[in-house]
Symmetry: C2
Subunit: 620 residues, 2 copies
């Protein structure tokens, strides 16, 4: 083993929490995580005797496997990169995945959404079937017996039995004494269970960064349980483009991307079922929404054509896929319904937001619907016409590409105020600050601008006492290192990232308005959807010029409306149909084809409140 200087240090990135930093050589992964403020479970305190600190090495070199680890990790675990954090030492720059069960404090994800009432009318119907058992004078096949008895109750006969149901049917009907409950979807028998049995469905909003899942009672329409989690694909890249590149590298990588999301959904399903006393076999249908890339990666569809102009999806229409074809553990005969995509980068998630928020209800108005994320979708609804754009806002608002950025977890700074020469901040759960999440980053920029620490063009001012030269440019010290506190700064690079992100959104909004011949002040309502959108301070977003300067009462933050749309499509045939209508009639506007796009993008990087029209800015 080469002699190693203790002064040597490595870059360590922890996913899915999104924290990265430097750690001196000679520290275990458990110690590195603690130093960067990431809590990993460890009951034995690092002795290698509890097995709680399981992590996965995604890339880079680490120390050899120890005897202790063999006691907690199978050969296949080890082959897949699993290690105990307390027994493993970096031997270079590395990237580590911390699975949810090893994480001591969960990440805050947005599962709260708009509450919309709907009369339950799901696509899956259930019937009680009581049969006369077979005998030597009545030797009809078991499946035929079930279907013939069932069809006496139906107007439109059931003509098909799911193959996995068929394989178990003979055993099941005997166990149940020829009295059962069957679930029918279109003309297909998709599940057979004890009578009476609960009917449950799953709604999923699959975001680039976050997953929100809802277990919904199909009879009452009530949400029985909710779960939020980080999309584990972040280990393959923060943003959509790097995620798609990973998938294109090899069929194996594409398969891993698909599998990792399904595994995550399966554990969410399992947890929610346990919490509510539901059997996974009682989950009869799933509706999943996501942007086009997430939709494709979840299904394992080809993405090459999605990554190259003209950015065409493999499929735009709504589709139904057997859950078993995807490895999703609901009832084996059940389906996953995916809402339709509008275009390459305006996906089913935006359709779901529109289903949930129904902007056409504001009859005479011009309604802007914005779902802010790594990719931001904006649509303008006016007089029954809907036009949509997609803005490459990037991962900055999720804490990505920001020096001390992190996802929304305990210890993340989420609010910042600078007044009277003091900096005030608020962290999630009041924990000691370990980084800044999206809303905190947005607030920081707004407050720095207001306090004159950055100018309109985003240049950090040397004159300020909290500003210093960080070697790679100026940086603003938001939190000073003191006691256990880690130093947290906003760099000139961070400010540039934010400027690009917010300019992308504002440019998209402007393109829609110009296309419709409207001025910003003619917008009657702005619906801000999405996890990030519901935590941000709208006033801050306006003050840096990300959102149009309109009276605050025209804004409405609706939380995870995509999740709500998925729930509506799960519960109601009518809403599911409506999603198809919306997708069919929404016009997609390709920003790259809008005249003056680049100029507008450049202009809107400027901070401050302003109006802009045809690339010309007028300050307010």
């Amino acid at each position: 083993m080469p002699v190693r200087s203790e002064a040597e240090s490595y870059t360590i990135e922890f996913q899915p929490v999104g924290i990265h930093g430097h750690c001196p050589a000679g520290k275990s992964l458990l110690d590195c995580a603690r130093q960067l403020g990431v809590g990993i479970n460890s009951v034995c305190g690092g002795a290698g005797t509890c097995g709680n600190c399981r992590v996965r090495v995604l890339n880079g070199h680490v120390s050899p496997v120890t005897t202790q680890e063999h006691g907690y990790l199978s050969p296949s675990d080890l082959k897949n990169g699993w290690r105990l954090a307390c027994q493993t030492y970096p031997a270079g720059n590395i990237k580590i995945e911390i699975p949810p069960e090893s994480l001591s404090a969960p990440q805050r994800t947005q599962v709260e959404g708009l509450h919309v009432e709907v009369r339950p009318d799901p696509v899956v119907d259930s019937y009680r079937v009581s049969m006369t058992p077979p005998s030597l004078t009545d030797m009809l096949g078991d499946a035929d017996r079930v279907v013939q008895t069932l069809n006496k109750q139906l107007v439109k006969p059931c003509t098909l039995v799911d193959f996995t149901v068929l394989r178990q049917l003979s055993m099941r009907v005997r166990e149940l004494g020829w009295e059962c409950q069957v679930a029918v979807r279109s003309e297909e028998l998709i599940a057979l269970d004890r009578y009476p049995s609960r009917r449950v469905g799953l709604a999923v909003d699959l975001g680039t960064t976050k997953i929100a899942a809802y277990l919904v009672d199909l009879d009452s329409g009530k949400t029985l349980a909710k779960r939020g989690a980080t999309n584990p694909q972040v280990g393959f890249g923060d943003d959509i483009i790097s995620r798609l590149s990973s998938a294109m590298k090899s069929a194996d990588a594409a398969h891993q991307l698909q599998e990792t999301v399904v595994r995550s959904l399966n554990s969410m399903i399992e947890e929610m079922c346990r919490e509510t006393g539901t059997q996974p076999g009682q989950v009869l249908e799933t509706v999943l929404v996501g942007n086009t890339a997430m939709h494709h990666l979840f299904l394992g569809l080809a993405v090459d054509q999605l990554s190259r102009s003209p950015f065409v999806p493999a499929v735009s229409s709504a589709i139904d896929v057997k859950a078993s074809n995807l490895g999703l553990r609901i009832t084996p005969g059940g389906y996953v319904h995916l809402l339709p995509n509008i275009a390459g980068f305006v996906g089913a998630d935006h359709v779901a937001v529109l289903v949930a928020t129904k902007p056409w209800r504001y009859r005479k108005g011009a309604v802007l619907t914005i779902d802010i994320g790594t990719n931001t979708e904006v649509s303008l609804s006016q007089g029954g016409k809907i036009t949509a754009v997609s803005c490459a806002s990037g991962p900055a608002f999720e804490g990505g590409h920001i020096r001390h950025g992190m996802r929304a977890m305990p210890g993340a700074i989420e609010r910042v105020r600078i007044s009277d020469g003091t900096i005030q901040y608020q962290t999630i759960d009041g924990a000691p600050p370990i980084g800044i999440c999206g809303s905190g980053i947005l607030d920081s920029l707004a407050e720095m601008y207001r306090a004159g620490i950055v100018d309109e063009r985003g240049r950090i001012q040397t004159s300020h006492r909290w500003v210093r030269d960080g070697g790679n440019g100026r940086e603003f010290v938001l939190v000073e290192a003191k006691g256990d506190n880690r130093e947290i700064v906003i760099t000139q690079g961070d400010v540039r990232e934010l400027q690009l992100a917010k300019a992308a959104i504002r440019t998209g909004i402007l393109a829609l308005l110009e296309n419709a011949g409207l001025r910003e002040e003619e917008i009657t309502r702005v619906i801000v959807a999405g996890a990030f959108g519901s935590y941000i301070d709208i006033a801050s977003a306006i003050s840096i010029g990300m959102l149009p300067s309109l009276p605050l009462r025209r804004y409405r933050q609706v939380g995870n409306a995509a999740g709500t749309g998925a729930r509506l499509a799960l519960l109601s045939r009518k809403e599911r149909k409506r999603a198809q209508d919306i997708a069919a009639r929404t016009h997609y506007l390709e920003l790259a084809g809008v005249p003056g796009f680049t100029q507008t993008l450049a202009e809107t990087t400027h901070l401050g409140k302003y109006r802009i029209s045809r690339g010309k800015k007028s300050p307010l």
Copy 2:
């Protein structure tokens, strides 16, 4: 290692050829096989350097793996029991599988069937689709583009794209330059290929002992290639009952039974495709027929209820299963259609025979249709009414449970004549005799009876010069050991097996006639279907009382009519529909419920020509 006497000998059974015998200890499996007349490939002459003599140990103990074997067998091969025959020595009684590629002379299986003309009208239609590629002003999803272009040609629109097709569609349409041929089944797009592409289908008759497969051109109706093979499930048991018992032992065993047939079919498909220059992706549909047990084992359906009174199938109706769900390598989106079952032991294979032979065409007659096999199905068609029975004839006619019985392979005695004090026999391909196959066994019994070597009750007569006491009872020496010739005998036990087998068939026939109020002489036609049925000498079958004593011209041997029925259902929607009608209107008669069944069974074990009515026999 214990000292072993060279005098020690082991019982060795070779499957699927069905040969078993004793071999002295100290001989390799290759030598044992040669001694019993079974040809195993070996280029190196037993030196362990060619790897041609791969066999699989199904059960029993053998010598340890040698260094030579490691060069030809992977660890997983070894784990699954694969060995080189020249390197392996029995260490007890053993059962060995010889895979087709290691067998030097192929088994004769029946693939020739009735020729029936039909106008091709298959369930799969093909269309040419020429599309305008997407652009920045036309970003419709790829699958939507294909379907929308296709639907302009269709009256009933295509509404569904198979998921495996969808996963590859984007790549494929680009490779093909937006010009392709699609296959549509009902409303589903199941394949996408280059235009123009051949349309082919597969028809399979899956027998308990034999598999016959036909590659059929869906446009011309022509059979492009045929293949016969032994059903590899024989390794799990010769007859249906032992096959079902194997499947019930564990889910794993059931899975193996399913997998082994599919593997065998896949290699038949591969060979036929290679022979005809067809791509497996051009095979768009499969029709498979088999008895109910084979049908269930092929699909992996539960069989417990099939093995216990009242012997109910998991499903009686015709069903369609995605080939990919079964592991069958035709086009991944294609279906396997299984014709309907009539009852627990009258399966889709008999329906197929009826579809092929159409007994209702003989308007005024009473037509008996017999498919002789390990399980023999008999039906009586009269005035539009069809009644069917199932007879447990057992494996004797396939060479099973017969001392020197074997399947129909080169060297099997297939014809026997005893006259003027000499025994004449004919072997398959004129090879030196190594055993007796079904038709030879039947002939032997008939000739032995005619020559007075057995009496009416089946007792072998001591007085005869070719009869001796074999230790376990009397035996008739059919072939004397001379030079390389192995001795071949018919034992008293063999005669008993044959009596039971033929009595089962005759009893089934009688039960049908009595049920219809007919006498044997009122039968106007007897259709004898099946591999065995087409090789037997009908006069011999009559002379031992297996078949009714009717003028020979009323008999018709039609070869593999089940295979022909499968081909018809593959080629024609009308014939497929007809199969469903036949299954629905055929009445199943359970022999166990027929009064006097046991008595009739006892009476019909007698040899000789006779009429029988209500259990009373009248000699002719």
